[in-house]
C-alpha cells in the first residue's frame, strides 16, 4: 500500500469524527488533525483504535503521541504494517 492509498483509507477513518466533512477536500501530509480538521482531541483515541482494526496493526503509546498530522499518521501506520511482516 503506498502513501496515497493510505491517505484515501485514512479519510474514511477520520470522517466519522469530523463535523465539517468538507475540510477533508484540502487534506495533505501537513494537515493537522486537531487544528486543521477540527477533530476533538478526545476522539484521537477512537481514530487510533479504528486505524488499528482497519490496518490490523497495534499502536503503542509512544507512536500514538506522534500521530498529530496526516503525514505522521501515515508514517506510523506504514511502520507498523511493515514491522508486522
Amino acid at each position: 500500500m503506498d502513501r496515497q492509498e493510505i491517505i484515501d483509507e485514512l479519510k474514511k477513518v477520520l470522517t466519522p469524527y469530523m463535523e465539517d466533512k468538507e475540510l477533508l477536500g484540502g487534506i495533505n501530509e501537513q494537515t493537522d488533525l486537531i487544528k486543521d480538521l477540527k477533530i476533538n482531541s478526545a476522539n484521537l483515541v477512537d481514530i487510533i483504535i479504528d486505524a488499528e482494526s482497519k490496518y490490523n496493526i497495534e499502536i503503542d503509546m509512544d507512536s500514538a503521541e506522534k500521530m498529530t498530522t496526516v503525514g505522521s499518521c501515515i508514517d506510523i501506520i506504514t511502520e507498523k504494517m511493515n514491522s508486522k511482516t
Binding site: 476533538n40 478526545a42 484521537l44 477512537d46 487510533i48 483504535i49 500514538a64
Partner: protein
C-alpha cells in the same frame, strides 16, 4: 476485605458532599462496575427542579452514571496499572467527561435508589469508554448510553507549573 477496597475507592473520589453521587460499590473488576446511589430527598436541586414537583434532573442522572460507571472504574484501572493507592490525592488526578449519548426511559423521584451497571468497551491512552445502564429497584432500565471520559493525571511538576502560569 473487598468491601474495604471498594470503600477506599469511593473515598478517593474527588467529589464532595452535595455532588458525590456514589453510595456503594457492589462489584468492581477490570471490565465492569456495579454501584448504587439513593437520591437524597433534601438534595439541593429538588427545590427548583421543579418548583412544587421535585424530579431528578437528567443532568444529575447523567452525573450519577458518570461517577459510578466511568470515574470509579477509571480510578480502579489506574490504580491497577500504576500499583499505587490514592492516585487522586493532592489533586493529581481529575476526571473529564468527553462524550455521552445517554437516553432516558423513566423519571427518578426523590428518595429512589438507582443502580448503575457499567461495562468497559476500552481503556486506552487514558481514555475510558463504557456502556452504562441505570436501573431502578424493579431492575427496569431508567437510562442507558455510551460514556467516554479522560482520567487526567498531572505529570507532576511540569504540568502543575504550566497550570499555575496560565
Amino acid at each position: 476485605m473487598r468491601t474495604q477496597q471498594y470503600r477506599e475507592i469511593v473515598e478517593q473520589l474527588p467529589y464532595k458532599s452535595s455532588f458525590l453521587f456514589v453510595d456503594n460499590i457492589s462489584l468492581l473488576n477490570e471490565d465492569q462496575v456495579v454501584g448504587d446511589y439513593t437520591l437524597r430527598k433534601d438534595a439541593f436541586f429538588y427545590e427548583d427542579h421543579f418548583a412544587g414537583n421535585p424530579i431528578t434532573p437528567g443532568g444529575i442522572m447523567t452525573e450519577i452514571m458518570v461517577q459510578i460507571g466511568l470515574v470509579v472504574l477509571g480510578i480502579h484501572l489506574i490504580t491497577c496499572e500504576s500499583g499505587q493507592m490514592n492516585v487522586t490525592r493532592e489533586g493529581k488526578l481529575f476526571p473529564l467527561l468527553t462524550s455521552t449519548n445517554v437516553s432516558f426511559r423513566k423519571m427518578v423521584l426523590p428518595g429512589e435508589k438507582v443502580t448503575v451497571i457499567s461495562r468497559k468497551q476500552y481503556f486506552r491512552f487514558g481514555k475510558l469508554k463504557c456502556y452504562v445502564e441505570m436501573h431502578n429497584s424493579d431492575k427496569e432500565v431508567i437510562a442507558k448510553g455510551m460514556f467516554s471520559g479522560l482520567i487526567k493525571q498531572f505529570r507532576h511538576n511540569r504540568e502543575m507549573s504550566q497550570m499555575e502560569k496560565a
